[in-house]
C-alpha cells in the first residue's frame, strides 16, 4: 500500500504542531520519521491513525482519499498504530487482549483467534502463549502482541511510535528483523524515532521534521552527520568526560540481601565513593529496580547493612535517606516523579528548600520562571506536568533536585529523549558529579553505560552477575553478561 | 481569578433566575384536580365523586392533614386519609394532605413548616396524624394560635393528662378507644388458636402501645377461658416490638423477620400492632405453604384483603365521624382545645356515620367463633364484661389492680408496663 500525506495542518491553539506536512511512503518500504521532541511527529501519526483529525490536508491511500474520524476508521482502512506504551490491558490474558477491539465483537470465536494468534507468532518467531496474563509480558513482548494484533486486524500500514524505548537490545534486534520481514511482504512501515542510529539501521528512506515542518528527506544510507545537521542544523560533538578524583564512601552495601524475590539469593556488597558513577545494566526486571530501592530506603534488606556517608542507615525510612541527601528518580516520570495536573510552579513549591505554611505565589512564580530559563524548559510556569514533552519533564525533575546531593539514583535518565536533551541531562549529571555526588543509574543503552560510568554492575535474574570497570570493557562483554553468560575470563557459564 | 469565578456563578444563577422569572406569569391559575389514584388535592361536594376543576364560588371549608406514613399503606395513614376524605365529602369541604411526614423520608421537612404551608393555602384546621409529630404539633400550634389544630393520639389537651398544655388553646386531641378493638381482636385470636400461643407484632413501646397489647391479651384470655373452656393461664402470648410504627429498613427491626421468629416460636395467630401489613402478609405466605396460621391486622378496614382466607378480622379506626365533628366545630366557631377518647358505637360498631372504632370479621374466623365474638362484643357494649378489673399484676409482678378494683381512664391510658403473663420486653427504654 502506498500512502501519501498531503499538506497536513494541525494546530492546537497557537501551536502549529503540523504546519503543511507532505510525505509519501512507498509500498513495502521502511520509512523513518526523525525529529527531536516536540517536532510534531506524534501529532502527525495521531492524525494518520485517526486519534486526531487534521485541520486541513488530505490522506491518500493507494490513490484513494480517505477520511479518518476515529481510530476504528484507520484500522478499517488498514492503518495500524503501535503506541509508545502498547495499549495492553494488564489484568487480561494475551488472548483476551488479542480479541479485544476486534470488529463484530458480538460473537467471539476465541478458539479460532487463539489458533490464528499462534500461527502469527510462529510466522514471526514470537514466543507468546495465548493464556499468559498480559501483566507477565515484558514491554517488548507487549509490542509483539500489539503488532500481530494489528496484522490480524488487517493492517497494511504499520506505524511505530518510538518503539525501542524500554525494550532490551535483544528485543530491539528481534523487532527490526520482524519489521524487515513485514516490509518484504509488502507492508509499509513508518518508524518514528529520534534515534539516528536506529533509523539508519532499519530504514530505507527518512523524513526529518523540526517544529512542525518537514526539513529534509533522504534515501538511506547517508552519513549520520548529514541527518544530525538536518535535525539540529549542526552536528553534535561528544565530549570526553573529565575524570573526577574519588573521595570518601557515600554509599556502602555490606552483604545486603532481601527477604524474598529479586536480590534474595546472593548478598551484595558494594562501596560507592563520592563522585563515582555506577552504571546498572541488565534486562528489564532483573533486580535493578529492587537494588535502587534498597539504596534509598524504599525497601528494607533482610540481612546486611546499608550506610550513607559512613552512617548506618539500615532499616531507616525513605525520608531519612532523603534527609541524608539521597534522591531517587525512577523511570516513570509522570508515575513516580511529577504530578499530573500540577503546574511547574507548584512542583517547585512542593520541593523547594524554603517551605512556609502560606505560599507566596508571586515569589514562587518568579522562581519558576527563573528555573525554566535556567534549565531551558519548553513550557511556562503555568504548564502542567503532563503537558510537557518527555525531555522537558526530565528537565523539571532535575531542576527539582536539592542543591546538595550525596547520592543520586536514576532509572533510564535519557530514555525517550532526543540527543540534545540527552546530552543536556548528562551535562547536568556530570556537573553534580564534579560537586561530589555519587550517581547510580540504570540504563538499557549500552553506549550510555559505557560512556558515563566508572563501574558497571550487571544484573541478571535477581542478582549481580558482574561488576565491570567501564574503562576496560566493551559492548560485547556487557551484552554477554546481560544475557546471563559470565565473561569468558571468569570461566564460568551460568544458565 | 475571583472575578472569573463570580462570572461563572452569576451565569448559573442567571439561568435559574430566567427560569424563575418565566414562571411568574403562570402563577395565578393554580387548579385543583382529582384523579383516581395519586390525587392529593381533592374537592368534592355533596358526596358525589365528581371531578372538580373549577374553584367553587363560595370558599369551601379546607382541612389539612399531615400523614406520617404513605397515604396508601393499607393501614394507619390510609385510614386517616380516607376518614378525612369522607368527612370533607360529608360537609362539602376540601382536603389538603401530605404524606411521608417523618424525618427518615423527608429530612428537610418539619411538621410545623408543612402546617404553615397548609394554612397559607387556606386550611382552616390542621390535623397531625401521628404521636410522632408531637414537637411539630406544639410548634405549629404556638406559631399559628388562630388556627384550630388536632394532634391525633396525644394528651396535651387533657386536663388530667400528664402532658397537659393549658397554653395551647388551639390544639385538640382525638383518639379512639382502640382498647376495645384490641380486646375483640384478642378474643378472635384466643378463640382460634390451635397451639395455644399468640404472637403480637408491636411498633414502638409507649403507654399507648402497651395499652393495646394488654387489651388484646385480656380479650384473648377471656375468650379462651369462657368460650372454649380452657385454662387462661395456659394461653401463651409473646410480643416483639420493631421500634417504630412501620418498618424503616436499617433503623427498625425487620417486621417480616419478627413474624417468622414468632411463628417459629410456636405462635399460630399473629396480631399486628404496626401500621403496615407484614403480620398478615407473611402469615398468609406461610399458610399458603401448608402451615395452619391466622392473623389479625390493624388500623384499616380493608386490611384483610391482602390474605383474606387466614384473616380473623380487623379492628379499625373510622376517623370520618370525628373529623366531621371537628370540622363542624370549627365552622360554627365552637372549637376549643379538647381531649376526645371516642368509644365504639355499641349499637353498631361498624356504623360508618357514628362509630370511631370498628371490627370487621374476616374469612378466617369460623362461624361458630363468629357467634362467640358477637356475644363478646355485646358483653363489652352492655358493660357486663369489664376486662380491666382486678386482680391484675404488671409484668414485673407488682400490683396493677387489686381484687375487685376496676381501672380508670387514666390508669388505662398510662399503661406503664405490660401485664403479667405477657412474654417479651415492653419497655425498651
Amino acid at each position: 500500500m502506498s500512502l501519501e500525506l498531503l499538506d497536513i495542518h494541525k494546530h492546537f491553539g497557537p501551536v502549529r504542531a503540523n504546519d503543511g506536512i507532505t510525505i509519501t511512503v512507498q509500498e513495502g518500504s521502511l520509512h523513518g520519521l526523525l525529529g527531536e521532541n516536540g517536532a510534531g511527529k506524534s501529532t502527525l501519526m495521531k492524525v494518520l491513525s485517526g486519534f486526531h483529525s487534521a485541520d486541513s490536508g488530505r490522506i491518500v491511500l493507494d490513490g484513494r482519499e480517505i477520511k479518518l474520524a476515529n481510530p476504528d476508521d484507520a484500522i478499517e482502512a488498514g492503518i495500524g498504530m503501535l503506541h509508545q506504551d502498547p495499549l495492553v490491558f494488564l489484568p487480561f490474558s494475551v488472548i483476551d487482549n488479542f480479541v479485544l477491539g476486534s470488529p463484530g465483537s458480538a460473537r467471539l470465536d476465541r478458539k479460532k483467534a487463539a489458533r490464528e494468534l499462534s500461527e502469527l507468532c510462529e510466522r514471526y518467531g514470537f514466543n507468546i502463549s495465548p493464556d499468559t496474563p498480559a501483566r507477565l509480558l515484558t514491554v517488548g513482548e507487549r509490542q509483539q502482541l500489539e503488532i500481530i494484533r494489528l496484522l490480524w486486524l488487517g493492517a497494511r500500514v504499520l506505524i511505530l511510535d518510538e518503539p525501542t524505548t524500554g525494550i532490551s537490545a535483544d528485543q530491539r534486534a528481534k523487532l527490526f528483523e520482524t519489521l524487515k520481514a513485514l516490509a518484504t511482504e509488502g507492508m509499509s512501515v513508518i518508524f518514528v524515532s529520534h534515534k539516528l542510529e536506529e533509523v539508519a539501521d532499519l530504514c530505507e528512506r527518512v523524513t526529518v521534521m523540526t517544529r512542525g515542518k518537514v526539513v529534509g528527506e533522504a534515501e538511506l544510507p547517508v552519513p549520520p552527520e548529514q541527518l544530525v545537521e538536518m535535525m539540529f542544523g549542526q552536528s553534535i560533538e561528544i565530549h570526553d568526560r573529565d575524570s573526577v578524583p574519588l573521595g570518601t564512601s557515600h554509599l556502602a552495601f555490606d552483604s545486603v540481601r532481601t527477604a524474598t524475590g529479586l536480590l534474595s539469593e546472593e548478598p551484595i556488597s558494594l562501596d560507592v565513593q563520592s563522585g563515582e558513577v555506577i552504571g546498572i545494566a541488565g534486562m528489564e526486571g532483573s533486580g535493578q529496580d529492587a537494588f535502587l530501592r534498597l539504596c534509598c530506603g524504599m525497601r528494607t534488606p533482610k540481612e546486611g547493612t546499608v550506610s550513607i556517608g559512613g552512617k548506618d542507615m539500615t532499616g531507616k525510612h525513605y525520608r531519612d535517606y532523603l534527609a541524608a541527601d539521597v534522591k531517587y528518580l525512577p523511570a516513570g516520570r509522570l508515575e513516580e516523579g511529577l504530578i499530573e495536573g500540577l503546574t511547574i510552579t507548584e512542583h517547585f513549591v512542593l520541593t523547594g528548600e524554603k517551605q512556609s505554611f502560606f505560599v507566596d505565589w508571586n515569589a514562587a512564580r518568579e522562581r519558576a520562571v527563573e528555573q525554566i530559563e535556567h534549565y531551558t524548559i519548553k513550557g511556562t510556569e503555568a504548564s502542567t506536568a503532563e503537558s510537557l514533552s518527555g525531555g522537558n519533564q526530565q528537565r523539571v525533575l532535575l531542576a527539582m533536585l536539592p542543591p546538595e546531593l550525596t547520592v543520586l539514583l536514576m532509572e533510564h535518565p535519557t530514555r525517550g529523549l532526543d540527543i540534545e536533551s540527552a546530552d543536556w541531562v548528562w551535562e547536568q549529571l556530570l556537573a553534580r558529579r564534579q560537586q561530589g555526588t555519587s550517581i547510580l543509574f540504570a540504563s538499557a543503552d549500552l553506549d550510555e553505560l559505557l560512556r558515563y560510568s566508572d563501574r558497571i554492575l550487571v544484573f541478571f535474574s535477581g542478582r549481580v552477575i558482574g561488576e565491570l570497570d567501564a574503562n576496560n570493557t566493551n559492548v560485547e562483554e556487557i551484552g554477554m553478561l546481560i544475557g546471563g553468560r559470565r565473561a569468558p575470563s571468569s570461566g564460568s557459564v551460568s544458565s | 481569578m475571583l472575578s472569573k469565578r463570580l462570572i461563572q456563578m452569576l451565569a448559573v444563577l442567571l439561568a435559574f433566575a430566567l427560569v424563575a422569572a418565566a414562571c411568574g406569569d403562570s402563577s395565578s391559575d393554580t387548579t385543583a384536580t382529582t384523579t383516581g389514584g395519586g390525587g392529593t388535592t381533592t374537592t368534592t361536594d355533596g358526596g358525589t365523586a365528581t371531578t372538580a376543576t373549577t374553584t367553587p364560588s363560595t370558599d369551601p371549608f379546607k382541612m389539612g392533614i399531615l400523614l406520617v406514613g404513605p397515604e396508601f399503606d393499607q393501614g394507619y395513614s390510609q385510614a386517616h386519609f380516607e376518614g378525612a376524605e369522607w368527612a370533607m365529602d360529608q360537609i362539602g369541604g376540601e382536603l389538603i394532605s401530605l404524606d411521608f411526614i417523618n424525618p427518615a423520608d423527608n429530612p428537610g421537612l418539619t411538621p410545623e413548616a408543612v402546617a404553615k404551608d397548609m394554612i397559607d393555602q387556606g386550611a382552616q384546621m390542621v390535623v397531625f396524624n401521628s404521636d410522632d409529630m408531637r414537637d411539630g404539633a406544639f410548634a405549629a400550634a404556638e406559631q399559628n394560635p388562630e388556627t384550630p389544630m388536632v394532634w391525633v393520639s396525644g394528651d396535651s389537651a387533657w386536663a388530667d393528662g400528664r402532658a397537659y398544655r393549658a397554653d395551647l388553646t388551639n390544639l385538640s386531641n382525638v383518639w379512639g378507644q382502640m382498647t376495645f378493638g384490641k380486646m375483640i381482636a384478642g378474643c378472635a385470636a384466643g378463640l382460634t388458636t390451635q397451639t395455644g400461643k399468640l404472637g403480637y407484632l408491636g411498633p414502638l413501646t409507649n403507654d399507648e402501645t402497651r395499652r393495646l397489647v394488654n387489651s388484646a391479651y385480656l380479650g384473648a384470655q377471656y375468650c379462651y377461658e369462657n368460650y372454649r373452656g380452657l385454662d387462661a393461664s395456659d394461653l401463651e402470648f409473646a410480643v416483639t416490638y420493631i421500634g417504630f410504627w412501620f418498618e424503616i429498613p436499617g433503623v427498625t427491626l425487620d417486621a417480616t423477620q419478627v413474624v417468622n421468629d414468632l411463628i417459629d416460636g410456636g405462635a399460630d395467630v399473629m396480631l399486628s400492632g404496626i401500621d403496615t401489613t407484614q403480620a398478615l402478609v407473611r402469615s398468609g405466605q406461610r399458610a399458603d405453604g401448608g402451615e395452619a396460621l391466622w392473623a389479625v391486622p390493624y388500623d384499616f378496614e380493608d386490611a384483610c384483603q391482602e390474605a383474606p382466607s387466614i384473616c380473623l378480622g380487623v379492628p379499625y379506626f373510622n376517623w370520618g365521624p370525628a373529623y366531621v365533628d371537628l370540622a363542624n366545630s370549627v365552622i360554627d366557631g365552637s372549637f376549643t382545645a379538647t381531649w376526645e377518647w371516642l368509644p365504639p358505637d355499641w349499637a353498631d360498631i361498624n356504623n360508618v356515620n357514628t362509630s370511631t372504632i370498628g371490627y370487621i370479621k374476616g374469612d378466617g374466623l369460623s362461624s361458630e367463633n363468629g357467634a362467640f365474638l358477637d356475644q363478646f362484643i355485646a358483653g363489652l357494649g352492655d358493660g357486663s364484661i369489664n376486662l380491666y378489673a382486678g386482680p391484675l399484676n404488671w409484668q414485673d409482678g407488682s400490683s396493677f389492680l387489686g381484687d375487685g378494683e376496676t381501672a380508670t381512664d387514666i390508669q388505662i391510658w398510662y399503661s406503664e408496663q405490660c401485664l403479667e403473663g405477657i412474654e417479651g420486653v415492653c419497655d425498651l427504654g
Partner: protein, 354 residues
C-alpha cells in the same frame, strides 16, 4: 479566555435547564409551575417575601449541613479519597453533640461552643477511623466508610431506643428535645441561626484558602493526584491522607451538630438526612471548587424543602422532587463532561509529545 469560561459554565447550565424542563413536562406539569413552587416552598415567592422567614430559615438550616459536608469532601476528594463515610461522620458529630447537649449544663455560650466542639471531635474521630483503616489496614475507604456509616446509624438507633429513650417511650422516632439552652440561637420564630451561617461560610472560605494559598493544601492535592510521586518528594502521604479525613470529619461533625441542635432539636435515627451523600453530588458538580458549593448546596436545600409543594399544590407526587434532583445532577454531570471534552480538545495545545 473569559468568554470560554463563561461558555464552560453556560453549557452545563443549559443542559440542566433542558433536562429539567423535559422531565417536568413529561411528568404532566407545565414545566414552570413546579420550579416556581419549589422556589416558593423553600424561600417564598417572590423570594424572601415577608412572612416567609420560617421557610427561609428551614432552607438555610438544610443548606448549612450540606454545605459543611461539601466543604469537607473537597478536602478528601483533593486527597484522592472517596469519603463515602461522610454520612457516618455527620451522624457521629450529631451523637457527640447530643451527648453534651443532654449531659452538660454550663452557661449558654460555653455550652454551645462545647457542643459544636464535641460534634467536630465526633466526626473527626469517625473520619480518622476510615483513614486509619485505609492507611494501616489497607481497607479501601469506600468499603470502610460504608461500614462505618452503618455502624454509626446503628449506634444512633441503639441510643434512641435504649439509653437515651424518651421517658416511658422507646420509639425510634427520636430522643426528647434538648434543653433550650443547648439549641443554636436562632432568629425569632425560625430555625435560622446566624451562627451556623457564619461557621459555614468561614469553613468554606477556609477550605478555599487551604487549597489556594497554603503548602498543606498543595501537598494534599499532590498526594491525591499521585501518591508515589508525592512520597518520593518526601511528603508523608499517609499523614496527609489522615489529615484530609480529620478535616472532612470535623466539618461533617459540625454538620451533624447543626442537624441535632439547629434543625431537629433532638437526636433522630435519620439525623444525617442523607446530606452526606447529597454533598458528594454537590462537590462533583462544583468540580471541587469551594465557592461553588455555596449556590449548589443552596439549590439542593431548596429542592429538599420545597418539593413537598409539588404534592400539596399540583397533582404530582413529592417524589418528583427527588427525581428532579437526580435528573439535574446527571444532566449537569453530562453538561460538565461535554464542556470539558470540548475544551480539552482546544487545550491540547501544549500537550504535544513524542
Amino acid at each position: 479566555m473569559t468568554s470560554n469560561r463563561l461558555l464552560y459554565a453556560l453549557i452545563p447550565a443549559g443542559v440542566v435547564v433542558v433536562a429539567a424542563f423535559g422531565l417536568l413536562l413529561a411528568a404532566g406539569t407545565n414545566g414552570f409551575e413546579p420550579i416556581k413552587l419549589i422556589v416558593e416552598g423553600s424561600i417564598g415567592w417572590p423570594p424572601f417575601e415577608e412572612g416567609t422567614s420560617s421557610k427561609v430559615g428551614d432552607t438555610v438550616m438544610v443548606w448549612v449541613p450540606i454545605a459543611l459536608a461539601s466543604a469537607g469532601l473537597i478536602v478528601t476528594f483533593n486527597a484522592g479519597m472517596w469519603n463515602i463515610g461522610i454520612e457516618g461522620q455527620i451522624i457521629m458529630g450529631a451523637i457527640f453533640a447530643a451527648f453534651v447537649a443532654r449531659e452538660v449544663s454550663v452557661s449558654r455560650p460555653l455550652l454551645i461552643a462545647l457542643i459544636i466542639l464535641a460534634g467536630a471531635v465526633g466526626g473527626m474521630l469517625w473520619g480518622l477511623l476510615v483513614g486509619v483503616l485505609r492507611t494501616a489496614g489497607g481497607v479501601n475507604e469506600i468499603f470502610g466508610g460504608l461500614g462505618l456509616d452503618f455502624v454509626a446509624a446503628s449506634i444512633t438507633t441503639y441510643l434512641i431506643i435504649d439509653p437515651w429513650s424518651r421517658t416511658g417511650v422507646a420509639s425510634t422516632s427520636g430522643t426528647d428535645p434538648f434543653p433550650d439552652e443547648a439549641l443554636l440561637p436562632s432568629l425569632e420564630g425560625t430555625r435560622l441561626s446566624p451562627l451556623a451561617i457564619v461557621i459555614t461560610l468561614v469553613a468554606i472560605a477556609g477550605i478555599w484558602l487551604l487549597f489556594r494559598g497554603t503548602l498543606y493544601g498543595l501537598k494534599l492535592k499532590a498526594v491525591g493526584r499521585n501518591r508515589p510521586s508525592s512520597f518520593l518528594m518526601g511528603i508523608p502521604t499517609n499523614r496527609y491522607l489522615l489529615g484530609a479525613f480529620v478535616i472532612c470529619g470535623a466539618l461533617a461533625g459540625i454538620a451533624g451538630t447543626s442537624q441535632a441542635i439547629g434543625f431537629h432539636f433532638r437526636l433522630i435515627p435519620a439525623i444525617s438526612g442523607n446530606y452526606g451523600f447529597l454533598a458528594i453530588l454537590v462537590v462533583l458538580l462544583a468540580r471541587f471548587r469551594a465557592f461553588w458549593v455555596i449556590p449548589i448546596s443552596f439549590f439542593f436545600a431548596m429542592i429538599a424543602v420545597g418539593s413537598s409543594q409539588l404534592q400539596l399544590r399540583l397533582d404530582v407526587n413529592s417524589a418528583l422532587g427527588g427525581v428532579l434532583q437526580g435528573t439535574l445532577v446527571l444532566s449537569a454531570m453530562f453538561g460538565l463532561g461535554w464542556a470539558a471534552h470540548r475544551f480539552r480538545k482546544q487545550a491540547e495545545a501544549g500537550a504535544e509529545s513524542t
